[in-house]
Symmetry: C2
């Protein structure tokens, strides 16, 4: 099952709420880039509130999809990163530079709005 | 994999984008009612834009979950119902009375806001 991507005005919202396997992660990467292309979205919020743990492959895919989205002109905000996930990301050397983060979905949308003004 | 439920202020947003099996549908029903209880959400938007076809069991679960949410005090708006889905619902005698509908997620949120004013 693929991860649903919700379009809300100029933004795309994604909430990852279950453990995802490698195939789902790759599928998500493709789906998100495709949806950015189709909708012309300017911002993306990826909510990780329900993600307790992250492995190196998923972390890498996540880092990649953020860079790719940025290339395509969509700003990504990550929200709800839990302590264990933050530690894994840094341990793996994925520093997510230039990535905005926020506490939750609402704050993420506010952050996008502040940065993009659209 | 369960269907993610996004919380945005007082509303819950759900986008069903893949064919769901019976088990996932039942799980979704439980998850949604649980989330309404936990968050005190006053409105729910269920977006069916990507659902091409619906079987009798899923249609029944959908009808039930709307009635249940209503009992718990959360107003449900269904959005993006495709022609084939509308036909199936009526053919199966699921009339979804008192259920608001709208074209897409944005319109669904506007409808909730107009009805609830919160």
């Amino acid at each position: 099952m693929s991860i649903p991507i919700l379009k809300l005005y100029n933004y795309l919202l994604i909430s990852i709420q279950t453990e995802i396997d490698d195939k789902t992660a790759i599928q998500f990467q493709e789906d998100l880039l495709d949806k950015i292309h189709k909708t012309g979205a300017t911002g993306v919020v990826i909510d990780l509130t329900s993600v307790d743990i992250i492995d190196s492959f998923i972390a890498k895919v996540l880092g990649d999809v953020i860079t790719m989205s940025d290339l395509m002109g969509a700003k990504v905000v990550l929200t709800g990163i839990q302590p264990a996930v933050a530690m894994t990301l840094i341990d793996l050397g994925i520093h997510l530079q230039n990535v905005a983060t926020a506490l939750d979905l609402e704050q993420g949308l506010i952050k996008l709005y502040q940065e993009l003004r659209v």
